[in-house]
């Protein structure tokens, strides 16, 4: 019921963080843009940081030949030449795995504790690099990345023994005496590609899961958040076992080289376009891949009767849009669906709230770079879209700022409504009746999250049953991310594979079925040469008719 039949068949084109437009948000790992474009992706002028200068040089460097290391020596944890270096890196990690070091529970715990120490001791530095890369306020950095990570790693530490313990399964009576177990075991050497928008959280959250499951891990941070990437490359070897955890820095070409190797699992966070490339490359080695992609996450706002409810809903909507990396997040609200009659009231409250929230510029993160700035401002240049602006709309190319902008009913075929926005622009689409919003949502690819503000229980259950998405959150936005009991991940175009909490552990584990039998009891009817009597006995076994089986065995019944 929920599968949009109009879903584009050429699925690798239109959405996720990657689009058909010449510029794309999110990690352009295998960016095939012409070199001029690479140069244009220079960083904001107000950041004369040394590390970003490194990134600058790297981006403008000539395309790498197999012999020229594309990892900047001063930044990387890997001084070797990439192609050879990566080969020995992977085989080195495989040896570490085979030695059994990473499988040891004490080792896993020590790694998680190391991660916690990193998060506590280097907190100030992390605030700095996040401000440097994205202009995030420390409160936002703490809430969405550092604090969320501390909470999650603590949760993992508390539960690790239970997760790692073999789980007993029932064994059929006929195989008595027997024990059936499901034993989680590490997959081996895994690769984590993180993304630039939550550059710490999206690198360390999967890393913690992979370590908890006992794997050796390579983390490839996004080159578009260079300060954070350099921070990770410098500090991870100090706090975690450098034999089993490596950070590899670099851009698309390094990502591509990494994918030439055989991994036991790859987790990729980024755009659907690159996700396709990763999957295709992984197929060569039969490597299972978890894809955490994005989508246009809708927010359905029912008519709310009290002023207080409306204000709270708007707080949460504004929080889930403008104060989440300025809307540059896969879980951020992409657009709002509301009844025509309720729209004016909602817009009024939205306007006043957003003014209050973004009174000082440091309370909203910055647009990543010029490329994304151009992409976002091009949405607003569309004449029909510009006409739909009801709040904000101004852009400043010098400072790369885009004012928090609200649109009312922009054309549904405009770029801002066909692509993932990934920025501080919020379209509001009106429907006649709020129930119509479900049809609207279903006509789009399955999103990572659906948000709905309502007190109507019937509407809630209809949303759960009639739409499909990675998650559904009622009366709030984005907070499902910090509930460890809930799996985090997309479905369809928003990705596959889920993580967080126990799901991270499971994602990076192999559930090995172990069945133990003894030599005690032996039924000859299992074996050839076959006759009708044996078939009869087997029939009893499968029908779990143990009385007849027993009678048969002692020769009383056939």
């Amino acid at each position: 019921m929920n599968h949009p039949i109009y879903e584009p068949r050429a699925a690798f084109q239109p959405h996720g963080h990657g689009h058909t437009a010449p510029v794309r948000p999110s990690c352009p790992l295998f960016n095939t843009l012409p070199r001029a474009d690479h140069a244009a992706r220079s960083r904001s002028p107000r950041r004369g940081h040394q590390l970003s200068a490194c990134a600058h040089n790297r981006e403008q460097a000539p395309p790498p030949s197999p012999n020229s290391p594309s990892i900047h020596p001063s930044m990387g944890s890997m001084p070797e030449k990439p192609r050879h270096g990566l080969g020995s890196l992977v085989s080195g990690l495989q040896e570490v795995c085979e030695s059994g070091v990473t499988k040891d529970l004490a080792w896993r715990r020590s790694q998680l504790k190391g991660l916690l120490r990193l998060l506590t001791e280097k907190e100030e530095e992390m605030f700095d690099v996040l401000r440097d890369d994205l202009g995030k306020h420390r409160a936002e950095s703490y809430r969405d990345e550092i604090g969320a990570l501390v909470k999650s790693v603590n949760h993992t530490l508390r539960n690790l023994d239970r997760w790692a313990a073999p789980e007993k399964a029932q064994a059929p009576l006929v195989s008595f005496p027997a024990t059936a177990l499901v034993v989680p075991e590490p997959l081996g050497v895994v690769l984590v590609f993180s993304c630039w928008n939550l550059p710490l959280g999206l690198a360390l959250e999967p890393l913690s899961g992979a370590l908890a499951a006992g794997n050796a891990v390579v983390v490839k941070p996004s080159e578009l958040a260079p300060s954070t990437a350099a921070f990770l490359a410098t500090n991870i070897p100090k706090y975690l076992d450098p034999r089993a955890v490596k950070v590899v820095l670099g851009g698309p070409e390094v990502g591509e080289q990494l994918m030439e190797h055989r991994w036991d699992k790859v987790l990729f966070t980024g755009s659907a376009r690159i996700g396709c490339i990763i999957l295709a490359k992984a197929a060569k080695h039969l490597t299972p891949v978890a894809l955490e992609l994005g989508s246009k996450c809708p927010c359905i706002v029912d008519r709310l009767d009290s002023k207080r409810d409306t204000q709270i809903a708007v707080n949460r909507i504004a929080g889930g849009k403008w104060s989440l990396c300025a809307g540059q997040a896969c879980l951020a609200i992409d657009y709002v669906l509301v009844e025509e009659k309720f729209a004016p009231a909602l817009i009024e409250v939205l306007k006043s709230t957003v003014k209050r929230f973004t009174a000082t510029p440091e309370c909203m993160a910055r647009i990543l770079n010029e490329k994304h700035f151009k992409r976002l401002s091009s949405y607003l240049k569309d004449r029909k879209v510009a006409a739909s602006v009801v709040h904000g709309g101004s852009v400043n190319p010098k400072t790369l700022t885009i004012e928090p902008t609200i649109l009312l009913n922009p054309p549904l075929d405009s770029d801002v409504m066909t692509e993932e926005i990934f920025g501080p622009i919020l379209p509001i689409i009106t429907v006649k009746k709020i129930e119509d919003s479900m049809k609207f949502v279903r006509s789009k690819p399955k999103p990572l999250a659906i948000y709905a503000f309502t007190r109507n229980e019937k509407l809630k259950s209809r949303i759960i049953n009639e739409t499909s998405s990675g998650s559904v959150t009622f009366n709030d936005a984005v907070v499902q991310y910090v509930v460890e009991g809930l799996p985090f991940g997309g479905v369809g175009q928003s990705g596959s594979g889920q993580y967080h909490g126990k799901y991270s552990f499971e994602l990076f584990s192999n559930k090995k079925a172990v069945f133990k039998r003894s030599f005690l009891i032996e039924f000859m009817f299992r074996y050839p040469p076959w006759d009708n009597g044996k078939i009869g006995m087997l029939r009893h076994v499968f029908n779990t008719n143990y009385v007849l089986l027993l009678l048969g065995l002692i020769g009383l019944r056939r």
Binding site: H3, I5, R9, H137, R138, A139, Y142, K151, P172, A180, V182, E185, C276, L279, A280, A283, K284, P288, R308, A313, N315, A318, G319, R356, F357, R442, I464, S468, S471, V472, T473, F474, N475, D476, V479, Q480, V483, E484, G485, L486, P487, F488, V491, G492, Q493, Q498, N510, K512, A513, V514, F515, R517, Y527, P528, P529, W530, I535, L538, R539, F542
Partner: protein, 480 residues
Amino acid sequence: MEESAAAVVQELRARFAAGRTRPAEWRAAQLRGLLRMATEMEAEMCDALHADVGKPKTEAHVHEISLVKSSCLFALKNLKKWMKPKKVHARLVTFPSTARIATEPLGVVLVISAWNYPLLLSLDPVIGAIAAGNAVVLKPSEVAPATSSLLAELLPRYVDSTCIKVVEGAVPETAALLEQKWDKIFYTGNSKVGRIVMGAAARHLTPVVLELGGKCPVVVDSNVNLHVAAKRIVAGKWGCNNGQACIAPDFIITTQSFAPKLIEALKKVLDKFYGKDPLLSADLSLVVNTNHFNRLKVLMDDEMVSDKVVLGGQRDEKELKIAPTIYLDVPLDSAIMKDEIFGPLLPIITVDKIHESFGLINSMAKPLAAYLFTRDSKLQEQFEMNISAGGMLLNDTGIHLTNPRLPFGGVGESGTGSYHGKFSFDAFSHRKAVLHRGFWGEAKARYPPYSPAKLKILRGVLEGKLVAMIQAILGFPRGK
């Protein structure tokens, strides 16, 4: 061909979108239909399986039809329970709230099955897909044509043919199907085609379950009940479609001193099971076709191994029969030790100490199943700890797959994803996270404009401090 594949998918998408496959009643009705089919058409199915691989009736019954039936029954019994949303602990940070995990069908799925167990490997995944509420296209293997056409004929008679379709065909038909966008592809077969399936799925970001094979090792310690062990090895190797099974023992590792005794015991059991001339036995399956016969012939005629035969070696090309054949001490770099054998040949590798088997197994690709025969519980434990495999069975072969409470599937080269029982349901479902929040308990500290006081409360909340939680819920800090 492409158009017809596209038309099938489009039709199923429309049905799925209309919600036809979602209700528990529809799912149960289809499962009951399959159950009826397996009961009423048992004779036809046995005939088809005999025509395709010369499968003895008992094997057809035990390994395929019965397993299909018990799989249906298990799903029917548990369906309601599986479909129920699971409550999870939401913890204080989002207090007050309730969190649930709801399962929902993925949509339209494709099942591509294999020829060696053409009935079971077709219907077992379909059972999971139906239980999870999906619309399904089944593409049976063209290498087992009788079963393929039987399925195409029977399924529409027993299940809702508007949502469950059989598409028959070989490579071009499969390629046309793979061009389409699916919500999941479930493939059983070899790793070469597995790579092609995964590559095709990548274009549409489609998740895949790959059930592949691998060289399943059997480690035989000297501390065993030799007669029972030999019977169970023979039953798992030659009694499972004459070795043409993904979980069949591929090779044995035992100690040099124990090998002669083991071979003696295997000989005795083989004699008893299949008679003096196994080529005449009706209880052995045939080699499926000339291609496979020739492939096995090449393995047998390899100079490196042809003088290592200790038992069997007879073959009849016209009848596509090969006798159970055992080799002793073949070189590890011979062809027979490189690829999955998938036939009635069984090499025995000897080591000085049984523990050396671990290194040998770990030097090869991860198998679908690993078997160990020993009474030594310490060795059992070490085997469990040190060997990675999809499944592991101690003191028996093959039967772990009959336990619906164990996941069945490979790891690494032997595949990805698992099924059987609830694992089938999960393989074809999406776990949707659902969080319910109320309008009270509004934590101002979450929102800008930020201040040190707000950061302090956030810190407390995320660290699980009760005072901070209360402050947050009461809307501190005030006045901002």
